[in-house]
């Protein structure tokens, strides 16, 4: 089981809002697939998965604010 976390972003950015899930629970995920779009005030960016498996559970819903290091989803 792997947690997809909001990676430590460039300095000065401590949190971001989930704006769109590209994938849904149950989807097969490959390492490097872009899973979720996050947004800060200034920009939107896609977060890639760093593991392969099945997207077991979406932890942070669209609209949720997540801190750096916070769990976005569980991939199993």
């Amino acid at each position: 089981m792997a947690e997809l976390k909001l990676p430590e972003l460039a300095e000065g950015v401590n949190e971001a809002v989930v704006s769109f899930w590209h994938r849904k629970e149950g989807d097969d995920i490959k390492d490097g697939d872009e899973i979720v779009e996050m947004a800060t005030d200034k920009a939107a960016f896609n977060v890639p998965s760093r593991s392969s498996g099945v997207l077991k559970r979406i932890v942070a819903k669209e609209g949720d604010t997540v801190k750096v290091g916070g769990v976005l989803a569980i991939i199993e």
Binding site: A10, G12, E37, D41, A43, F45
Partner: protein, 277 residues
């Protein structure tokens, strides 16, 4: 929640290059506009070990409404060791092209012009072939300060016009459109072989005709290179984006730039004055 249009999304690329760049900069206590302004291109640039140095501190004496680099910290005298630290960073990052910009320092007698010149001269000592660009503030229009910077011999003298004249009051209070044009015109006149460059942001509510006029004003002032990019609000305290211009609008700006005779131009949503796509 409201999403950014599809052409304004980037991918997070966190690799060794990005972390190396961050650690080199941190170790040398160097500010970059990339970090201070939360540039969305930072992943692209830092992973390729590219950055734009921000000198003279991280605290600005102007309060432009598009910029989040504000009054935090204290204004001190220029750090005489800073040019040497930048030289070391250039070496460690392996840069062949350097862009140096600054906060605006109206509090200093020379508005920081001498410090810019020091940086250029010290970097020249590192490598004569180094391509050096300075992106300077308007120096309150003082021509002798422009001379100080130009005489140090940068390859590119850049000063951003930022927006159309009608919106200066809201976007860039404290600056003056004609004064900024004059800075470019005067610099070009001092050394014709030096490239001059200017950048502007769109999305503040300007019309395309106004953008067209600015391009022609810049050309008339002797500006060689132009950059046009989408304004993105760095934080809640800054001006709201009025419009996300479609990429086709930027293609039109590119055609206009070519027709106007700019030697080089970059017009795209993510174009920044030191990020040319």
């Amino acid at each position: 929640m409201k999403r950014f249009p599809c052409w304004l999304r980037r991918s997070v690329k966190i690799d060794k290059g990005l972390r190396d760049t961050e650690s080199i900069l941190k170790g040398l206590h160097i500010n970059t506009v990339c970090q201070s302004a939360r540039c969305p291109n930072i992943y692209d640039c830092f992973s390729r070990r590219k950055c734009t140095f921000l000198i003279l501190g991280n605290c600005c004496t102007r309060s432009c409404r598009f910029c989040s680099i504000g009054g935090r910290g204290s204004l001190g005298p220029p750090d005489k060791r800073e040019p040497f630290r930048i030289k070391e960073a250039v070496k460690r990052l392996g840069l062949s092209r350097v862009v140096i910009t600054s906060v605006t320092r109206d509090d200093l007698g020379d508005a920081g012009a001498g410090h810019f010149a020091d940086c250029v001269r010290i970097l020249r000592g590192l490598d004569n072939d180094l391509d050096i660009e300075v992106l300077v503030p308007d120096f309150c229009g003082k021509r002798d300060l422009v001379e100080i910077v130009v005489s140090a011999g940068p390859d590119i003298f850049s000063h951003n016009i930022e927006t159309v004249p009608r919106l200066y009051g809201t976007v860039r209070p404290g600056a003056d459109y004609e004064r900024s044009l004059d800075v470019i015109r005067y610099a070009k006149g001092l050394r014709a072989g030096m490239f001059t460059k200017s950048g502007m942001m769109v999305g503040f509510g300007e019309t395309k005709d106004e953008v067209y006029s600015v391009m022609h004003d810049l050309r008339s002032a002797g500006c060689d290179i132009i950059t046009i990019g989408q304004y993105l609000r760095p934080d809640h305290g800054c001006l709201e984006v009025q419009e996300f211009l479609h990429p086709s609008a930027f293609e039109q700006f590119s055609r206009w730039a070519q027709e106007a005779g700019f030697k080089k131009y970059s017009c795209s949503p993510f174009t920044r004055s030191s990020f040319i796509e």
